[in-house]
């Protein structure tokens, strides 16, 4: 059935990029970039007065954003100038799907030079570089992952909350399991749910999910995750939640009994901080010590180096605002001063090697993390990020793999084989071109 011709849609645009558009259309899946854009670009008065910024936001889950973006890009050529997508956001799990297509403008056409981008982390440039060596996107962040833990629980169970001593106790998975057992003895949970450690294992796979012939291979490291999580579930080391569920978020709050979470840069300042407050900011709460468990957290490198997420901005072929796209990319991803300011204001980890090393060696500290300089740890982890095993199908594969194994952990499928069978079924529906 699959012996069919794969026709790669080759769009030939009359003009790749022009200027003078009155509407800047930006496609995204959440408000993270929107707030960066508003605070550091629009607030600086850099949006021309006669240009309206139009946000096209579609949630990420179940490939919804990708499908929407596909529709828009396929209609790009015939769309009216003000309806054309000018800028779109992609993340690591499906960056390759767009990078190697004519829909992504190369940075040279946009007008960014090698010099502009020299201070960015190399991996953030590699992943958006196509098979001909042309870079087609750029990011304002690097996203190394860490293990974030509760200081109060660490003191109670392990007798110390010092990050160096905690790191020594968590430096490999066997030690990690040992601490999990101690947590359980005192009535705490090591992790919140099933998917928490997933990325740590998934980032350390030995080959991409899908090979060149379209065959899916489940890496042994993913089965190690399944084995560990099943053990944690059966022994009560986790709270049986799922990623992004309200129960998972509650575990990060003042009532939580969970020792720690695997989180990358954006997760700490964007997600965990919000969840840890007793009174949310929207209800008048302040981000300060005393509100919930603000300040009760600390970070360590954990058992393995890993990363999670990251957002790249890409200029869309056919844009009618190319100069503005260039200005946005330059200001928000390549300007070291802006980058550093974003880190100082939001604790996000930004894409400037020199700026981050400067902060790592300074007395910069995070009140949220009990006065720790987490930038130092990120700066240590960021150069180790290896994205050579990512592929264009990773989001769909990851979501379906986690869903299929949730049933295994819950006891609804008895064996790993059965869970894999359900995973393959779901994948053949989502990606009919893949085999297993």
């Amino acid at each position: 059935m699959l012996a069919a011709l794969l026709l790669v849609t080759s769009a030939v645009f009359a003009q790749d990029a022009t200027d003078g558009g009155k509407v800047l259309n930006i496609a995204a899946w959440n408000e993270e970039f929107q707030s960066r854009f508003n605070d550091y670009f629009a607030a600086a008065g850099l949006v021309p007065e006669d240009v309206t910024v139009n946000w096209l936001i579609t949630p990420n889950q179940d490939n919804a954003y990708q499908n929407k973006l596909d529709e828009m890009l396929l209609a790009q050529e015939s769309a009216a100038p003000d309806d054309k997508v000018d800028l779109f956001l992609i993340e690591a799990d499906y960056a390759l799907k767009y990078v190697d297509t004519p829909y992504a403008l190369d940075l040279a056409t946009i007008g960014l030079t090698e010099e502009d981008l020299a201070d960015q982390y190399q991996y953030t440039r590699d992943i958006v570089t196509d098979s001909n060596g042309v870079q087609r996107g750029t990011s304002w962040q690097a996203t190394p992952g860490l293990f974030v833990y509760r200081r109060s629980i660490a003191k109670d169970v392990l007798g110390t909350d010092d990050p160096d001593e905690i790191q020594a106790l968590l430096s490999d998975w066997d030690k990690f399991d040992g601490v999990a057992e101690k947590m359980a003895e005192k009535g705490y949970k090591m992790l919140s749910g099933y998917d928490d450690a997933y990325r740590v294992f998934a980032n350390n796979i030995s080959a991409p999910w899908v090979d060149e012939s379209g065959k899916i291979t489940v890496d042994p490291n993913l089965l190690r995750w399944a084995e560990q999580t099943k053990e944690y579930t059966d022994k009560g080391y986790n709270n049986r939640t799922s990623l992004w569920s309200s129960e998972w978020a509650a575990d990060q709050g003042p009532e939580g009994k969970v020792f720690g979470f695997f989180y990358s840069t954006w997760g700490i300042n964007f997600t965990l901080l919000g969840n840890s407050l007793a009174t949310p900011v929207a209800e008048g709460g302040k981000e300060e010590v005393g509100n919930g468990i603000y300040g009760d957290w600390a970070v360590v490198l954990g058992p393995e180096s890993w990363y999670w997420g990251g957002t790249w901005i890409v200029g869309a072929t056919g844009t009618d605002n190319v100069s503005l796209v260039k200005d946005i990319m330059k200001k928000l991803t390549a300007d070291a001063e802006t980058m550093k300011q974003i880190t100082i204001d939001t604790q996000d980890y930004t894409n400037t090697v020199s700026g981050m090393n400067e902060l790592a060696n300074s007395d910069f500290k995070s009140d949220f993390l009990g006065g720790q300089n987490h930038i130092a740890l990120f700066a240590e982890a960021a150069p180790k990020i290896d994205m050579s095993n990512v592929g264009p199908y990773d989001q769909g594969l990851t979501e379906e793999f986690q869903a299929a194994f949730k049933d295994y952990f819950d006891g609804n499928t008895a064996t790993v084989e059965e869970a894999l069978e359900n995973f393959y079924t779901a994948i053949s529906e989502k990606y009919p071109n893949l085999t297993y």
Binding site: V8, Q66, D70, K406, T425, A426, P432
Partner: protein, 315 residues
């Protein structure tokens, strides 16, 4: 036999009103042809093609004969999802028909003289007015791991129950939603049926000393049969098409372990990934199944009157 020949009437020059009839019904047929018939035929057509899009890549359409049908009918999935659909439908329909019958009989029983029946009729019909998606979200939130139901359980010293992680829990709650949404509607229909029964029959039975149960089984049920079969048929076709409640309730996954995946959710999975070939073949199979069920139910519905007609002809 001598044929009687009627003299042919002379054709009168009259205005034909027939064409106006056709003109007035034309809009329906035009709309039907464009929005129903044409898509229906293309569904049949595309079911013989490999035709899907992955990301920005279009595959096909390539003619593959019966490959799509083969893939669906030889795999175990289709049967499994048909089973899921049947179980969830029955779990909702059986209590629905029992409760509705009971309520219909009570509401129409003259001896009971129930007060405020129109108020209750409105109340039981209410859930049907709520959007299925909203209803599903409501029940989902109520029964989630940290939801109100589990908080009540925990507060009263019980272990929390992870309803949504268990197969019975998920299927049961979907059936419950369907039951709550439709029992009011069924009650109203059955009431109309009961009220259509000649009341002298009930009076005569009472005078003869029949008990309520005898009246119910010997008079109400047999005379209600056409309405009951109608309810069964519409509910069964609605059951085959069950989609919105389980889709929202399980976030489109049909989990746990794909045991809440209904046939139409499976169809939607293929449509979501723009697999028009396989989705077309699945639609055709569902079309045939629905047609067969309808045929049998219709036959059983009309069996009695056909027998009666035969008997009459025999005389």
């Amino acid at each position: 036999m001598g044929a009687i020949v009627f003299p042919k009437k002379k054709k009168r020059n009259s205005i034909s009103y027939a064409k106006w009839g056709y003109i007035f019904i034309a809009p329906f047929f035009i709309v039907y042809a464009i929005f129903s018939l044409y898509p229906l035929l293309t569904t049949f057509y595309y079911s013989f093609f490999e035709h899907y899009r992955v990301g920005l890549t279009q595959v096909g359409p390539n003619f593959v004969g019966f490959d799509n049908y083969n893939a669906l009918l030889t795999g175990a999935d289709l049967l499994k999802y048909a089973g899921n659909t049947a179980i969830i439908w029955l779990a909702g329909f059986i209590p629905q028909i029992l409760i509705s019958l009971l309520l219909a009989v009570w509401f129409t029983d003259l001896r009971l003289r129930l007060r405020a029946t129109s108020f209750f009729k409105t109340v039981i019909y209410m859930p049907n007015l709520i959007m299925a998606a909203a209803f599903s979200m409501l029940i989902w939130t109520l029964f989630s791991d940290n939801g109100p139901v589990n908080q009540v359980l925990a507060a009263s010293g019980n272990q929390p129950i992870r309803f949504l992680a268990s197969i019975t829990g998920t299927r049961g709650l979907i059936a419950l939603i369907n039951f709550l949404m439709w029992f009011g509607n069924t009650t109203i229909m059955l009431m109309a049926g009961v009220m259509g029964i000649d009341s002298t029959l009930f009076e005569a039975a009472e005078i003869d000393g029949a008990s309520s149960w005898q009246i119910f089984t010997k008079i109400t049920i047999p005379l209600l049969r056409p309405i009951l079969v109608y309810v069964l048929m519409t509910s069964m076709i609605g059951g085959i098409q069950m989609f919105d409640v389980p889709q929202i309730f399980t976030n489109g996954t049909g989990n746990p372990a794909r045991t809440s995946m209904t046939l139409i959710m499976y169809l939607n999975k293929h449509l979501y990934s723009k697999n028009y070939g396989l989705a077309g073949a699945l639609s055709v199979i569902l079309f045939i199944i629905t047609a067969i069920i309808s045929f049998f139910v219709y036959r059983s519905l009309t069996a009695e009157s056909r027998e009666r007609k035969k008997a009459q002809k025999g005389i």
